[in-house]
C-alpha cells in the first residue's frame, strides 16, 4: 500500500515536471532521478548531470531467444507490463499499442517491449501464441518473459508499479503506463496506455524523439 502510494506520488511529480516542459516541442525531457557528478578534467572541476537510465537486463522473447539491453541499442522503444490472461486493462493497452505498432511497422529505429508479469503461466510459447493472435509477426514487438526477480526487479526502473496480488482480478496488480525510452536508455515520456488521447501524444512524442537522431 505504502509502495503503491510512493509510486503514485513519484508519477504525479513526473507528470507535473513533464507538463511544465511540454511547451518545448523540440526536445523531450529526461525523466527520473538525476544526480550531479563532479569530475576533474585538466585541472578544472566539471559538474555533469547523470540521468536515470534503464540498467541492462536479460529476458526470453516469444521465440525463446534471449533479449538484452543490446537488442534495443539502435532504437527508441516503448515498454509496458501486462499478462496474457489479464481481464482488466491489458486488452485496452494492447488495442492502443497495436496502433503504435501499425504506425511504426518496419521502422528499424522503433521497437516495443511488453514484459509479462505472470512469470509462471506466460512462457515464451504462450507469449508467441498471444502475439500471433494479436496480429504481430517479426521481432519489432518483443514479448519478454523472465523470472519473478528479473521482471519485478526491472519494473521500478521504468517507474511502473507491479505486484502479485490475489485480491485483484487476474491475480496481478500493475499500472498501465507506456514508457518511452530513447537509444541511451533514458526515460523520455510516460503515457496512460488505456487513454487513446495519451497514446496519440505518445506517437507525437515518438516523432519528436526520432527527429533528435536525424542528421
Amino acid at each position: 500500500m505504502m509502495r503503491n502510494l510512493l509510486f503514485t506520488i513519484a508519477f504525479i511529480s513526473i507528470l507535473a515536471l513533464s507538463a511544465c516542459q511540454s511547451t518545448n516541442t523540440d526536445k523531450l525531457p529526461i525523466l527520473g532521478s538525476r544526480e550531479p557528478v563532479t569530475t576533474e578534467v585538466n585541472g578544472e572541476t566539471v559538474t555533469d548531470t547523470v540521468y536515470h537510465s534503464i540498467p541492462d537486463f536479460e529476458f526470453l522473447n516469444q521465440d525463446s531467444l534471449p533479449i538484452t539491453g543490446k537488442t534495443f541499442e539502435n532504437s527508441i522503444y516503448v515498454a509496458d507490463f501486462f499478462f496474457t490472461s489479464c481481464p482488466s486493462i491489458c486488452p485496452i493497452m494492447h488495442r492502443n499499442l497495436l496502433e503504435v505498432y501499425k504506425k511504426y511497422k518496419d521502422n528499424p529505429e522503433v521497437m516495443l517491449l511488453s514484459h509479462s508479469i505472470d512469470t509462471k503461466y506466460d512462457t515464451p510459447s504462450v507469449l508467441k501464441s498471444y502475439a500471433e493472435k494479436l496480429g504481430i509477426s517479426g521481432n519489432q514487438w518483443q514479448f519478454a518473459s523472465g523470472t519473478r526477480e528479473t521482471i519485478y526487479g526491472i519494473s521500478p526502473e521504468y517507474m511502473v508499479f507491479t505486484e502479485e496480488n490475489d485480491q485483484v482480478a487476474g491475480g496481478f496488480e500493475h499500472q498501465g503506463w507506456f514508457i518511452l525510452v530513447d537509444k541511451d536508455k533514458h526515460i523520455r515520456g510516460a503515457y496512460n496506455g488505456t487513454d487513446e488521447k495519451e497514446v496519440a501524444k505518445l506517437m507525437k512524442d515518438m516523432d519528436i524523439l526520432l527527429s533528435e537522431y536525424e542528421k
Partner: protein
C-alpha cells in the same frame, strides 16, 4: 422578436412532450434496458470486445457477426454468466480463447447487456426480456 423565440421554444417543448408520451411503454422499457446495457457493457465487456464491438485481433472475437448473435440469442445469457471456451467461428475467423465467467452478474444486469449487444454493432434482435433471460439460464443448467 424575443417573444417569437419564447413561443417557438415553448412550442417545440410541447410537441416533444406529445411525441414522448406517444411512445409506447414497451419502447420506453426498451430504451431503459439499452441505456443501462451500455453502462454495464462498458464495465464488464468493453475491455476485451471494444467500444464498437470490434474485438481484438484473434484474441477476442468481435460482436459484429449478426448471424451468430441472432442464432445464439438464447445462449447469450449463459455465455455472459458462465463464460465460454473452445473453438468459435466468428465472421469466418477461428477463435479459440477462454471467456471468463461473470457469475456475480444478476439476471437484470445480463438482460441489460443482451439488449445492448443485441441491438448495437449492426445486431437487431429487438427487445429481450428478463423472463427470457431467466429461462435461458435455467435451460443452460439442465
Amino acid at each position: 422578436m424575443r417573444n417569437n423565440w419564447i413561443y417557438s421554444i415553448v412550442g417545440i417543448f410541447t410537441i416533444s412532450i406529445f411525441i414522448l408520451s406517444c411512445q409506447s411503454n414497451e419502447e420506453i422499457e426498451y430504451a431503459h434496458y439499452y441505456v443501462n446495457g451500455k453502462t454495464a457493457y462498458e464495465t464488464h465487456c468493453q475491455n476485451c470486445h471494444g467500444a464498437k464491438g470490434e474485438g481484438l485481433g484473434l484474441l477476442y472475437p468481435p460482436l459484429t457477426d449478426t448471424a451468430f448473435i441472432a442464432k445464439n440469442k438464447n445462449n447469450l445469457a449463459s455465455i455472459i454468466k458462465y463464460g465460454m471456451s473452445g473453438e468459435l467461428i466468428i465472421n469466418g475467423q477461428s477463435y479459440n480463447g477462454e471467456m471468463p465467467a461473470e457469475t456475480h452478474l444478476s439476471p437484470i444486469e445480463i438482460t441489460y447487456i443482451i439488449n445492448y449487444i443485441g441491438n448495437s454493432f449492426g445486431n437487431k434482435i429487438g427487445h429481450y426480456t428478463q423472463e427470457q433471460v431467466q429461462q435461458d439460464l435455467i435451460n443452460a443448467r439442465n
